[in-house]
Amino acid sequence: MSENFRLDKGGLINRDKKLSFKFNGKKYFGYEGDTLASALIANGVHLVGRSFKYHRPRGFFGAGVDEPYAIVQMNRNNEVDPNVRATEQELFEGLEAKSVNCWPNVDFDIGAINNFLGKFFPAGFYYKTFMWPKSFWYKLYEPIIRKAAGFGAASIKHDKEKYEHKYEYCDLLITGSGPSGLASAYAAAQNGAKVILAEDKSRFGGSLLTSEVTIGNQSGKEWAEKIISELKLMPNVVVKNRSQVFGYYDHNMLVMSERVSDHLPKTEKYIPKQRLWYIRAKEVIISSGSIERPIVFGNNDTPGVMLSSAAKEYLKIYGVLVGKKPLIFTNNDSGYETAIEFKKNGIDPIVLDTRRDPNSEIIKEAKDLNISIKSSYVVVAAKGYKKVNSADIAKISDDKKNISNIENIKCDCICVSGFWTPTIHLASQSGNKTKFNEKIDSFIPSQPKQKETTLGSASGIFTLEETLKTSFEKGNELSKQITNKENKVSIPTVVEKKSSNHDKFWCVPLPEGKNYKRFLDFQNDVAVSDIQLALREGYRSIEHVKRYTTLGMATDQGRTSNLNGLQLVSDIENKVVPQVGHTTFRPPYSPVSIGAIVGREIGKHSKPTRKSPMHYWHEKNNAVFVDAGVWLRPRYYKRGNENLFEASKREAKNVRQNVGVCDVTTLGKIDIKGPDSAEFLNRVYTNAWLKLPVGKARYGVMLREDGIVMDDGTTTRISENHYHMTTTTAQAANVLSHLEYYLQLVWPELNVNVVSSTEQWAGAAIAGPKSRYVLQKLFPDLNVSNEGLPFMGYMEGNLFGVNAKIYRISFSGELAYEVNVESDNGNYMWEKIMEIGKEFNIQPYGTEALSTLRIEMGHVAGSELDGRTIPYDNSLDGLVSKKKDFIGKRSLSKAAYIASDRQKVVGVIPLDKKTSIPEGSYIVKDAKAKLPNPKLGHVSASCWSVEYDNPFSLAIIKDGKNMIGQKLFALSPLKNKTIPVEIVSSHYVDPKGERVRS
């Protein structure tokens, strides 16, 4: 297809590089430097989508971030990218995109029936209609709404693209590279400030690229190019294009999304698709410019109706005509710039100006070019369905209330200009109390809350001369305060055409007997009639009107609709706009892909992976790993075709019969030193610590102040003022913070220091009746007999040349030792243990066997110490000192904690001794009771007892101590199981604890 709407010359595109692309399956050509939008328009394609609610045909309305319609689904690099603005997507060879919101296709759209049912589809339609019955939601409403509405379809595949995050600090962050951004960046850079200049588009220069101005002796565009090339060479300046600063957060933290590779067919190796910048700026200059406002008239959403500034941009940047018979509809001088541009390219536009006999330099220029101008004229309605083919125009009275002389004139596009709206989103996000400026009918930033300054047209200044002057000055002033250096640059002279005042006119009245839809919000399909209805129904607050009608709630954040919506509400309510107030702007200013927000912290990179020094030995020996917090721990070691159940049973059995070894490196370890350490431990733990001798370990439980068990573990007195504390793997970090809290804030008088030593030690637990033989061979010089190293004893030794610490402690309930060596020697220790243990049939065991061993012994662990239980619930009464005070003690006398039917940990056995009880099952009295069945408690941990060869579980149940011997039921609605059970003591194996002392 030939490019019928491309001019023979002009624009900033590279005509030497022709690119082919596909839209909705059809092949087209464009040029390097095009956007998908400009290339489609060059090919005469104006129908690109369907509207959200009524499924009316949609074309292009803008030329950049302001675009509310042309949202497409991209297929790039084998990935689907929904909701991409065609006006922002740069063209590349082989680009493939398709329309969204169309079913079955853009030309024939079933949803468009909504358009004809329009009167049944008013504001609040969804609220009103789909109220009942509830079941219809799942079956009927939701599937249909989902199919008919929504934008692009997200892929359900894993996104293979790379995204990354970057943290940056700067003196000045400048958001936008138009005249104010360039001037302030240049002035600040001269003073040595560290500057980041961010431009959303691919080309720098903003309005200078399309305006007819002279700066110094250069055109605006040449000046912009010169400034940018100078800035790029300065070491203190970072210049970024394709980068949208979308969020202004607390303490001058701004977030910017850089589209690094979206304009390329493929993402290069080692380069991300997008990069998210977290920028902490000392000062922020908001130079985000302004966006043209539409004027509201009948059928103003017809493809071919677009912003006049967009039409000019397509002409000047892309050499593309948006139409060959343009109608320009304006209430200010900007429309004339577009008209002149058309005229210069051999096209005859007609200008309708709402003003009566306007006069200015630029209007004179238009007249001199013989452009046809009709003053006091308006467009009443656009005609044509899939594309504008004519317009009803009319004369408007001076009071703007009456229209007359309606006539139909042929045109193929309507370029509309309703003056300019400053882009105040970032200022508003930062907390700036914006104020309404009557002169420009818009809100502009006023008192900044954070270190932020808005310049140029974003602040309501619409002349280049004043913009440059204030921007050079502000850039100089703000940077000077930071760098204490001044290298002032002279402000260039500016030649620009003076404008006359705009007309405060924004909505064309309906002609008698006509009921045209007049749209305010083009992306969410909100028409004038919807707002009128909402107000009739009693909605008053603009925030409520917004939510009820969805005005300004689409992804374009109402960039082209907010002010006209406010004008309408204020007109109907007879209030001035500032009384109505505008809704709150929230980040992101423009949609950001989820991938960019997530960055590299995805999948296994979402948290660090910690491995013990023995990890590779485990790997080599067929360990199957399990995540334990951030650690990888062997769950079991697979032999042959064993499954988890078989392997863990074998491993646990071997511990009970011979000896096993388990990697316990992951246990939290805290080194405690200082003369008051004993006193401190005495306050932290519930039991007594003052009399623990050197060379002895003690089991302890620590509480939170509310009496709930926080953690448990053993602590060993290494020397007079030195203790070695162990914590559970999961609570290690919390316990350290807890100890630091008390030492730094509550009892700073205690002379104690704590430091994490988890990573300094590799640990191996050697457990089982034959463990002493292994230990003796590991340390032939030591007396490790029951007398020499009794239960809860501690020794230091030399393990074949490396220093080792030996603790006689047990988690498995068997005779057991934990040997610690410095991490670097961990693997060496492990291999020695395996080598020496061979003759005693040593086997490594994983966390599954470890759990089995502790469950059948009735040792409580994380699943019982679950942040909801107190020591008494866990039968740890013996560890709670009656004599001394400790953290959380006062809470233990609370009525609920000492109630006679207080919950308690018990053992549970299935009556058939066969059926395993799923963890999480409820314990109930009557399996068939009416729902909700009163629950006595839940099963916290389950195992297959290797001692008795039947299932055994622990449960926390109400009045547990009086339940022993009762026959109850375990219910698992999840697994659909009802299991008759008997409640027994939690200490199923070796209830007297003789083995650990043997």
């Binding site: 977290y278 970090a733 804030l745 700073p748 809470s891």
Partner: protein
């Protein structure tokens, strides 16, 4: 993200810190009789002021010190940061 001036390390981003609640709460002394109500006040009851709030933060990914931060809960303005042993 807040920018918090650790009195030991200087200005750092919020993600290096963890929040620790009201800094004006005093733990009842050990081994002293405490009424149920006083104990409940200490353990559970916290004010949720709109405006200035003196609160604890721990510089967990830095010096590991607990610090006091005077912050406006509405605007997030930070007026002052103090070491654990300093008072406003």
């Amino acid at each position: 993200m807040l920018h918090i001036k650790c009195p030991h390390c200087g200005l750092r981003s919020q993600n290096e810190f963890s929040y620790g609640g009201d800094a004006t709460i005093k733990r009842p002394e050990l081994n002293k009789e405490v009424s149920d109500q006083d104990w409940d006040n200490f353990v559970y009851l916290r004010k949720s002021p709109r405006g200035k709030h003196l609160e604890l933060w721990q510089h967990i990914s830095g010096c590991r010190q607990w610090i006091k931060v005077e912050r406006d809960t509405l605007t997030h303005e930070i007026f002052k940061t103090l070491k654990a042993n300093e008072e406003l």
